[in-house]
């Protein structure tokens, strides 16, 4: 695709945005709306809103393998398959074939990618939470990692700004641990979720169960309908792409807004692999790309550059951007580039059954669940075994026919029983904060991919702090379910989950107060290359335990405003 609308032709722009996912889309929207001529570079192919969501309207019986994974798909999407993702015929076209773009695991790492226009904004989990005040001081408090150069109050107005446009559904719960935002109406809980809510809140001081906050417009507001988006239809098939534009993605939200300005050029199939740095001017002058099909290289030039290639690819691109000034990679005076990789560890929690409420059911399919905000090491709840904390995501539902495979019997009665709503089930699983550790890292290996570019080598682990935390994630879940009156409680603490499983890669080019220990300053500018901004997950200084994408949006909008201001003040 080459949307060369009203933008000037040629290879020179005001700004280049590398990447078209959640943060890249925001960078393009903000910069074009402020009048800059912007080039957005995407390494993968075009993926058109609605028309390329090829499976979005198909019924279950229209998939020949009914959700079972063909052997070839499990092989070619091995990281997806290994991490529990399902490269089935309904959704695999949204994911990158792992064999096409290999990586090396010094220690195991599940890297789930979406190399196409829109990136992982098309298949993300959509849960959108603000970091809280203490998330920004956590490193300072316990000494793990370095201090954030910003505080909650610096980002709060930008959270509000992006929430209004993206459309976050949620309830104002009034909890300091999970700050409220600008919400569209919350989704409802079902009967067993309400039961668990009252059981938990009655029995455990300081613990709360709230409805999840997804970037889904439960009820579209004018800002959304103006952009061509409609309210959620409650099909819960988000991962196939939403033909109604009800969840936030680049395609549904930021891209149309940026295109509307007439200032955006989008070029797909170009892998950006170097930022061109001018040793005289002490700033970047452009970006070097290779066409993924023709392998032709090309330079594009701009006054400012936003790197939004996704956490690991942003670091990868910076590591390859060597110059006289930066022999070890752009902005890497601190040797922190590629280090401090973080994710959220998950797979520990509990599930249970409830025998009552047999006369209650629900209508519709909700692409959202419930959320139990962090309570461990918060307020009076002090833990000996670990620092930081975890939140839970979960949901309740009535058991359906899927349970039939593990029940005894077959025949008429067995079949008819499976056509009735079964027992209520309720399950929660923790998302645990990981600590910034310089030994958790990625490097450029000496092996090359099919474009002759260095393959990433992962060398990261969850770390010791997660061991005690995971036990608490499991045990606390069980005690809350038990107190809520659930029975047959089963606990889990899966041991086979590798870093990356959360698909919340963070760190690798952290912000900071000191160029000696960080890669970016408080405005996400690269130390020593102030016209280069990094506003994807790479910038994160700590991981919190909440889903991070909303924070990338807020950081991006904030940095874009600063970039345009600095450009006008002739500081870039």
């Amino acid at each position: 695709m080459n949307l060369n609308l009203d933008a000037k032709k040629g290879m020179t722009y005001d700004a280049i945005v590398v990447g078209s996912g959640i943060s890249g889309g925001w960078a393009a929207k903000e910069l074009t709306q402020k009048g800059l001529k912007v080039l957005m570079l995407e390494r993968g192919p075009d993926l058109k809103h609605v028309t390329d969501y090829t499976t979005a309207m198909l019924n279950p019986w229209e998939f020949p393998h009914r959700g079972k994974i063909e052997l070839w798909a499990a092989e070619e999407y091995w990281a997806n398959a290994r991490s529990g993702g399902k490269p089935g015929e309904d959704q695999r076209h949204m994911f990158t074939k792992d064999v096409d773009v290999p990586y090396i695991e010094k220690r195991p790492y599940d890297w789930i990618r979406g190399y196409h226009l829109g990136g992982r904004s098309l298949m993300w989990g959509r849960q959108s939470y603000r970091l809280n005040e203490r998330d920004f001081t956590a490193n300072l408090e316990d000494g793990h990692g370095t201090d954030w150069p910003i505080r909650y109050k610096d980002l709060a107005p930008w959270y509000s700004y992006v929430e209004k446009f993206a459309g976050i559904s949620g309830n104002k719960d009034g909890l300091a641990v999970l700050p409220d935002g600008e919400f569209v109406p919350p989704m409802q809980m079902n009967s067993v979720e309400l039961l668990a809510k009252s059981g938990i809140e009655k029995n455990f001081k300081g613990r709360h169960l709230v409805i999840g906050r997804p970037a889904i417009i439960s009820v579209a507001q004018k800002v959304h309908t103006d952009g061509g988006r409609a309210s959620c239809q409650f099909r819960n098939l988000c991962v196939r792409g939403c033909p109604f534009g009800a969840y936030f993605s680049t395609q549904s939200s930021t891209l149309p807004a940026a295109v509307k300005t007439g200032n955006l050029t989008v070029i797909t199939d170009k892998i950006a692999y170097q930022v061109i740095y001018d040793d005289q001017k002490n700033k970047a002058t452009g970006v070097r790309v290779i066409d993924q099909n023709t392998k032709q290289t090309q330079d594009y030039h701009a006054k400012i550059i936003f790197l939004n290639a996704s956490t690991l690819n942003t670091a990868w691109l910076m590591m390859q951007s060597t110059s006289k000034r930066f022999p070890n990679g752009l902005g890497n005076d601190s040797d922190q580039l590629g280090r401090n990789l973080m994710d959220h560890h998950l797979g520990a929690g509990a599930s249970g059954e409830y025998e009552g409420l047999q006369d209650m059911y629900y209508y519709g399919r909700r692409g959202n669940g419930i959320y139990i905000p962090r309570f461990a090491n918060w307020g009076d709840d002090k833990r000996k075994d670990f620092v930081r904390g975890f939140g839970y995501q979960g949901r309740g539902a009535r058991r359906d026919w899927v349970a039939g495979a593990s029940q005894d019997g077959f025949g008429p009665e067995f079949k008819d029983n499976l056509t009735k709503p079964g027992r209520w089930e309720f399950s929660i699983g923790g998302f645990g904060e990981t600590l910034p550790d310089p030994n958790n890292r990625m490097r450029l290996s000496d092996k090359k991919d099919k474009w002759g570019l260095p393959i990433i080598e992962f060398d990261a682990a969850w770390g010791e702090n997660s061991v005690g935390m995971r036990k608490a994630m499991m045990n606390d879940a069980a005690e809350m379910l038990e107190a809520s009156g659930l029975k047959n409680i089963k606990t889990r603490n899966d041991q086979d989950k590798n870093p990356g499983i959360g698909i919340h890669e963070m760190g690798s080019a952290r912000m900071g107060r000191d160029p000696k220990t960080s890669v970016l300053n408080s405005w996400n500018q690269v130390w020593g290359a102030k016209n280069v901004f990094v506003t994807d997950g790479a910038a994160m200084v700590s991981s919190s335990c909440v889903n991070p994408s909303l924070t990338y949006m807020a950081l991006t909008a904030r940095a874009a405003a600063h970039a345009v201001g600095e450009l006008k003040r002739m500081n870039l």
């Binding site: 009914r66 079902n190 819960n236 519709g364 060398d459 061991v467 041991q495 086979d496």
Partner: protein
């Protein structure tokens, strides 16, 4: 003590600090990422086996007040899934199971399965259900058990710089990294598999979704608390 035993020993003294996949990796040593290139599947049922499978699925999911497996064309779906989603060893195991059903029918009633009465068919499949439970007990999924043991510590919690996790052999059916998928992955007993695939193929069929269950393609709204109506069917999805 060979290398494998030595490592298992170490793992045990560490309180099973390593998950089964990473243990398998240590034992195997370094391998670059690679995947088994499965040759195109040659799996196909003979016409008589297709008829037999059709009958078996109908006994598992029979026509009641709603159509059964035959009407929902379950057997062809089961065959396709077996062909594309399972490895040759599992396919062969399934075929042996099919043949055994017929052999058992002939032994008990001197007739092939398809010619038996519903009661006789049910009796035969009950035997196979029992058999599949016994078979499952003989081959506990050791790996699965280890990996899910809540008391073991993190699989990926390995000291920096060790090469223990470099080996990658991905089992295509489970997605789990294994040392030798063929040897380690226990085969699913015949009846367990045919039942699982029959249930899946039936309830995901158009008949299953729209007649046996209730299917709304575009609900348009979500209501969390709804009184269940008398005789209301479960939602298909």
């Amino acid at each position: 003590m060979n290398r494998r035993e030595a490592i298992l020993q170490v793992a045990l003294t560490m309180g099973s600090a390593l998950s089964a996949p990473s243990m398998a990796s240590i034992i195997e040593g370094y391998q670059p990422h690679r995947v088994r290139k499965s040759p195109p599947s040659r799996f196909a049922l003979r016409p008589d086996q297709q008829v037999l499978l059709d009958e078996i699925t109908e006994v598992i999911m029979p026509a009641t007040s709603t159509p059964g497996a035959k009407d929902a064309k379950v057997a062809p779906t089961v065959e396709l899934i077996l062909k594309d989603c399972y490895k040759p060893a599992q396919q062969e195991h399934f075929l042996k199971g099919l043949d055994a059903v017929d052999a058992e029918s002939k032994k008990a009633y001197a007739k092939p399965f398809v010619e038996l009465s519903t009661e006789q068919k049910t009796a035969i499949l009950k035997q196979f259900e029992q058999l599949s439970k016994t078979e499952a007990k003989q081959h506990p999924k050791r790996q699965e058990k280890l990996a899910k043991d809540p008391e073991t510590t993190l699989g990926a919690f390995a000291p920096a710089g060790t090469d223990q996790t470099e080996a990658k052999m991905v089992d295509a059916e489970t997605g789990v990294v294994v040392k030798d998928a063929e040897k380690n992955a226990p085969l699913t007993p015949f009846f367990k598999l045919v039942k699982e695939l029959t249930i899946l193929s039936y309830f995901s069929s158009e008949i299953g979704c729209t007649q046996a269950l209730a299917y709304v393609q575009i609900p348009g709204r979500y209501e969390g608390v709804v009184k269940l109506k008398e005789g209301q069917k479960a939602w298909a999805t």
